[in-house]
């Protein structure tokens, strides 16, 4: 009885505004202040700061000096940056083309209840434990033309200078990035595939639909939201991806893998042209936010909503 009273009483109080005591508002706002202060100072301020710094010259040591739009005209007309933009687009598209179908199929495969698939899933996870720096170092050794996978297997087409040949280095990076990220995305697909009601498959099977037909008519449409979430992460991720490429090629050979984030780093922290680096930073922020917004629109709901609904 007393519990029921307790439960009912506050509700009535909330309903009558006259009795509103300050405590009824719940926790005081200052409780969220530390989190907001951290976020404002180290995330919002840099976001504004990158725009401001793109209009200054700064070598990383002294005080930034205002130069107006000259960084912008200089960087945007620089063939190196133009090349970097092209490379970033290619890397992003290629990464998506490799990762999206593979992780979807792998996720659906992992969603199966067979015992061996559960064992496989445990092992598929392992790349996620490696830092990007570790993966880069491992693949650098593994892809060595003289002491790596080529001579180890004796297979002709594997014996190539994967990272030293300008026309092979970008495709190689696409593969290694896929090795890192497919496990994560397939986990997303595994979770989503397991939520598809079993009855849908049973009904389709009774109607005589085969495995391929059920995949295209049930599985794929049911995974739509996950495809959008996962693709957003993949696209924004590969656009801003830095660590692995830095460790494996540092933009080389020549400028063959100098994608936008590398271009930004090398400008800022190797050539001490922080203003120019900030220009590239702004481009990355704008394109990243635009792609997120665009893909959200495509899904018909915001990414945040789908996150909250648990996909």
């Amino acid at each position: 009885m007393s519990v029921a009273d307790r439960v009912r009483e506050p509700r009535q109080r909330v309903a009558s505004p006259v009795e509103k005591h300050p405590r009824r508002l719940g926790p005081p706002l200052w409780m969220s202040l530390p989190a907001m202060a951290f976020f404002a100072f180290f995330a919002i301020v840099p976001l504004v700061g990158v725009v401001l710094l793109s209009f200054t010259t700064w070598d990383g040591l002294g005080t930034p000096g205002w130069t107006g739009a000259s960084n912008w005209t200089r960087v945007l007309s620089d063939p190196v940056t133009q090349h970097a933009i092209r490379l970033s687009v290619i890397l992003t598209v290629a990464s998506w083309l490799v990762q999206c179908p593979t992780s979807l199929l792998l996720g659906v495969f992992m969603a199966g209840r067979q015992r061996y698939r559960a064992v496989y899933a445990v092992l598929y996870f392992v790349p996620l434990l490696f830092s990007a720096a570790a993966v880069g170092i491992v693949y650098k050794a593994l892809l060595d033309p003289n002491f790596g996978i080529g001579p180890a297997t004796g297979v002709g087409w594997l014996s190539k200078d994967w990272l030293g040949n300008p026309s092979l280095s970008l495709p190689t990076l696409v593969f290694v990035i896929a090795w890192c990220f497919i496990p994560f995305h397939s986990l997303l697909y595994q979770g989503a595939a397991r939520q598809i009601p079993r009855e849908m498959y049973e009904a389709a099977t009774l109607d005589g639909a085969g495995r391929v037909a059920t995949f295209f008519h049930i599985t794929l449409p049911q995974l739509k939201n996950t495809i959008i979430t996962s693709s957003t992460l993949m696209i924004v991720g590969s656009l801003t991806y830095f660590d692995l490429i830095f460790v494996m090629t540092n933009g080389g050979p020549g400028n063959a893998t100098r994608v936008l984030p590398l271009d930004m780093y090398l400008r800022g922290f190797r050539s001490y042209d922080m203003g120019g680096a900030a220009v590239v930073g702004v481009i990355l922020v704008v394109v990243g936010l635009a792609i997120s917004a665009l893909l959200n629109r495509l899904g018909g709901s915001s990414r945040m909503d789908s996150q909250m609904e648990g996909l």
């Binding site: 519990v3 926790p27 409780m31 951290f38 100072f41 720096a133 593994l142 997303l188 990355l284």
Partner: protein
């Protein structure tokens, strides 16, 4: 008993799944066998063969090269970042769910925006801030921005769970005279414990493996964290590949142990925020 379809094994699926398993494990196998290969054999024996006289010499070299310092640095940065992030995010999540003012709602909108900011793009201003604060080349330079960038997603995940706590529990505890502060610790924290663990793991993985902030915000060897140390090992050992790969194994080992013990938590922690 109508599941006749699953009776017929999916051979093609099994083959492709096995193929990906091989792709996943070949580098792992290669790291292990190479790290126990005697240094002088690296250039002569088949890279995939199991060494006939395995040695742990490479591991000793890595441990002698300051590995423990880097491990401790990584631990300090990760533990402090995760602890502060979880406490501050829980406080913020409680306010966002239970404080009905417009300010608290706007707080949440601003944080949601933060999730979409690519961290990489802000390295120049973050570097500027850290230099101006006099924190360049300290562990604080890594901890403070890491907390800031971990907060939005952590709050988002926690908000979802705080929302699920019945409001009646809060009201009855308030009637008993509990302060908001003790509500947070005696009600919100225990009731959201699974989410807190998930958030902690998610943040810990990100911080533990972070490379870019350490690269631009620290310089000296005694402030180096593990991922950065791998990169510098690569520069220092150059042709001593067994030692470089032994360093990789040692850097992955703590996470591998964690995975073996708490696989379920680690998996849910990793996908946190993308599927509840």
């Amino acid at each position: 008993m109508r599941r006749t379809r699953t009776r017929r094994p999916n051979v093609l699926g099994g083959l492709l799944g096995t193929f990906w398993l091989v792709v996943t494990l070949v580098p792992v196998y290669y790291i292990v066998v190479t790290s126990i290969r005697p240094r002088e054999d690296y250039f002569t024996s088949n890279p995939f063969s199991v060494p006939t006289d395995p040695t742990l010499a490479a591991y000793r070299e890595v441990l002698d090269a300051g590995f423990m310092t880097y491990l401790v640095n990584s631990l300090v940065v990760t533990v402090v970042t995760v602890a502060v992030t979880v406490v501050l995010s829980l406080m913020a999540a409680y306010v966002i769910v239970h404080n009905r003012s417009a300010t608290s709602r706007r707080t949440f909108d601003v944080l949601l925006l933060g999730i979409a900011i690519p961290i990489q793009a802000t390295i120049v201003p973050v570097y500027y801030l850290i230099v101006r604060l006099g924190l360049y080349d300290t562990l604080w330079a890594l901890i403070l921005p890491s907390i800031a960038f971990a907060i939005p997603i952590s709050v988002l995940i926690l908000v979802n769970f705080v929302r699920d706590i019945p409001r009646e529990l809060f009201e009855s505890m308030r009637l008993d005279g509990a302060s908001e502060w003790s509500l947070l610790w005696r009600l919100v924290a225990p009731m959201t414990l699974p989410a807190i663990i998930t958030v902690a793991i998610y943040d810990a993985l990100n911080v533990w493996n972070a490379f870019l902030f350490p690269l631009i915000l620290t310089q000296s060897a005694d402030k180096r964290v593990l991922p950065l140390s791998l990169w510098t090992f690569q520069g220092a050992f150059t042709v001593n590949v067994p030692a470089i790969l032994a360093a990789v194994v040692l850097s992955v080992l703590p996470l591998l142990v964690a995975y073996a013990i708490g696989r379920r938590f680690l998996v849910s922690g990793l996908t946190a925020g993308f599927s509840k």
